[in-house]
């Protein structure tokens, strides 16, 4: 239950007042309705308040409806800082730098894929390495690795993984400028060497889905989506490479906190003044990891398309598989926002939050400028995922941000205990969803009941107006790590 310190602003927002905790510089705002308020963890509320104490925070410490307790920053958190007296914090990005989602469309219809779904899931499962201890098919030499970190998805396209047209359909063009491979530790290079083109484990997945409901016909049309169409969603990030970058820089930041005398309510909020060398080094290393992740999703998408071509024996044109969009949901970016009617450059941290830029925004590719940025929200493997669009209201209220997923309600062990004696794969198959997973326990941890209902989460951001629903996607085949 939410403590008294929370005040309801309207149907979709709660406020944590600035006087809730000493040192808070701004209010906290949590986007939840009555339903999701019941699932708020006390600790995550504390974390939203803690972030409000960080130097240079602008507006409010924000949290999306999929909020749950993280390290230092809550997952589902958005925090923007002034470039002059603000900070940057690796904890505000998370260990899995540029964990994100991409969605592919196709010309295939549900009834065409259903008879082959088992084979399709099998081929993709065999082609795309996943799970604990898995190694990728790509072996990177030192020179390749450097190029990949500088160019991101562009590197992958140059290697023949996909088309140039994919790049404009990727946030930041699949390559964020300002990455510096010389700041990457040997350990990060070692961890990243064999993991390019791998899915990972835990909540990462590859899903074959169909469009089961359309909320906005015109927008769906612009995105190339239609009812009963087959889509593919890929959810993964920068793998061990990004985890090591985060680990390395948390140590750097811990020293920086002492050096710059920053007072922190929680050690995991370790940060450095934005203009300090420590912060600039982290930013450049984080960008390299972000590029690693964009290349990763690009390679995985390429092999997925190949698997479809093999199963359906058709030309690429006939299958019509192409990228709709790719979003990052763990990242810090310099963006321009209007604060008190003044344009300001800010460093926006999104940790388990998705950018949701409105129609007309100059950072959007021309194809999406009339409708706004596609927002991709994965749900749990048994229920649904959603496609939304960014809005002007998000720009005004949340630094152009929205939710990123369902958010857990059950701990992993709780889920494993609840799943004991049950065959989750068979329960899924009974629902018409074919699942393959490398790890036996992964399916138990990832079962539907372990997550909030994604529909509730998406309803909050839709009703709050910080993004708007376009389509709902239902899973048919799931590959888990």
């Amino acid at each position: 239950m939410a403590p008294d310190k929370l005040r309801r602003i309207d149907e979709t927002k709660l406020e944590i007042s600035e006087d809730y905790k000493p040192g808070m510089r701004v209010n906290g705002i949590i986007y939840v309705d009555d339903i999701l308020e019941k699932e708020l963890e006390n600790q995550s509320i504390e974390q939203v308040a803690n972030v409000a104490t960080l130097p240079g925070i602008i507006g409010a410490s924000l949290a999306m409806p999929d909020i749950h307790t993280g390290y230092g920053f809550a997952i589902g958190g958005v925090a923007a800082f002034d470039l002059k007296d603000g900070i940057i914090s690796p904890g505000g990005v998370g260990y899995d730098i540029n964990c994100g989602v991409r969605l592919l469309r196709s010309n295939l219809k549900r009834e065409e894929v259903l008879p082959r779904i088992k084979d399709l899931v099998g081929v993709i499962y065999n082609e795309i390495p996943s799970g604990v201890g898995s190694k990728g098919k790509i072996r990177l030499g030192p020179d390749d690795e450097r190029k990949l970190l500088l160019k991101g998805a562009r590197w992958a396209v140059e290697q023949g993984f996909g088309d140039v047209s994919d790049l404009e359909r990727t946030e930041s063009g699949g390559c964020i400028e300002g990455a510096d491979p010389s700041l990457i530790s040997n350990k990060a290079f070692e961890r990243g060497r064999a993991q390019q083109g791998t899915l990972g484990s835990g909540n990462h997945f590859l899903e074959i889905q169909y469009v089961d409901e359309i909320y906005d016909e015109k927008a769906a049309n612009s995105l190339g989506l239609f009812k009963d169409q087959i889509t593919v969603m890929i959810h993964t990030g920068s793998r061990g490479f990004g985890h090591q970058v985060c680990t390395d820089f948390l140590e750097v930041m811990e020293q920086a906190v002492g050096k710059y005398r920053i007072e922190l309510p929680d050690k995991e909020l370790a940060c450095a003044p934005f203009n300090s060398p420590e912060a600039q080094d982290y930013l450049a290393a984080m960008r390299a990891a972000a590029n690693y992740a964009w290349a990763n999703r690009q390679c995985i998408m390429h092999w997925t398309k190949e698997a479809f071509l093999r199963i359906f024996i058709a030309t690429p044109k006939a299958l019509g598989m192409s990228l709709i969009y790719d979003v990052a949901h763990n990242i810090a970016k310099i963006e321009e926002h209007t604060v008190n009617e003044k344009k300001m450059k800010l460093i926006v941290h999104r940790k388990g939050a998705t950018r949701a830029f409105p129609p007309g925004h100059l950072e959007l590719p021309e194809i999406y400028r009339p409708i706004g940025q596609p927002v991709l929200i994965p749900g749990d493997m048994g229920r649904a995922s959603f496609v939304l669009l960014g809005t002007e209201k998000a720009m005004k209220e949340t630094f152009g941000s929205t939710c990123h997923g369902a958010g857990r309600v059950m701990s992993r062990h709780q889920a494993i205990r609840q799943a004991k004696g049950r065959a989750i794969w068979r329960e899924m198959e009974d629902k018409g969803i074919i699942v393959r997973s490398a790890g036996r326990e992964t399916l138990a941890e990832e079962m539907s009941e372990a997550y909030k209902d994604i529909s509730n989460v998406v309803d909050v951001v839709h009703n709050a107006g910080i993004s708007k629903k376009v389509a709902r996607l239902r899973p048919l085949g799931v590959i888990k790590g």
Binding site: E41, H68, T69, G70, Y71, G72, I75, Y95, D96, G131, V132, G133, S134, K187, E190, R191, R193, A194, Q195, G200, S201, G202, G240, H243, Q244, C246, T247, L250, E251, E254, K267, E268, R408, V409, M410, S411, R412, H413, Q414, A438, G439, R440, E441, G481
Partner: protein, 138 residues
């Protein structure tokens, strides 16, 4: 005395390790962590690696050391089973870890651990028993 328990927290997972001295608790924290990655009964003691780290605090030492073990698994597939602590001071730990390389054919993959964190980290002595609580990002 039990070596460790698994700590249940909402998004992630942790280990509560016990020991009659600090070295024991460190050792059990590492074995506990490895047991989250795979079933240690199937791991053989085939080769050893040396892991030494330095830090400015005991908490820093534990986190840096566990992160080094995670690194050796994630980069090279090495899973430890036996931990020999050769030297331990306030700022330094020198260890030899014996185990083998993970083989998906023979070993079960359980959790993919990204890092050891400072989140609710605890190293304390209660009635002659050392206890370590450490949460992992997975």
């Amino acid at each position: 005395m039990k070596a460790f328990d698994v700590l249940d927290i909402s998004g992630d997972v942790g280990i509560m390790a016990y020991g009659k001295n600090l070295e024991d608790a460190f050792r059990n924290a590492a074995v506990g962590m490895y047991s989250l990655i795979t079933d240690l009964d199937a791991i053989e003691e085939k080769r050893s690696i040396d892991i030494s780290v330095e830090s400015h605090s005991m908490e820093g030492l534990l986190v840096a050391w566990l992160n080094d073990l995670i690194f050796h698994f994630d980069a090279y597939g090495f899973i430890g089973k036996r931990i020999d602590i050769q030297e331990m001071g306030d700022n330094k730990i020198k260890t030899m870890v014996t185990g083998e390389d993970f083989d998906a054919e023979r070993h079960e993959g359980k959790l993919l651990i990204k890092a050891a964190t400072y989140h609710q980290l605890k190293i304390e002595k209660k009635d002659d028993i050392w206890e370590i609580d450490v949460i992992f990002d997975i």
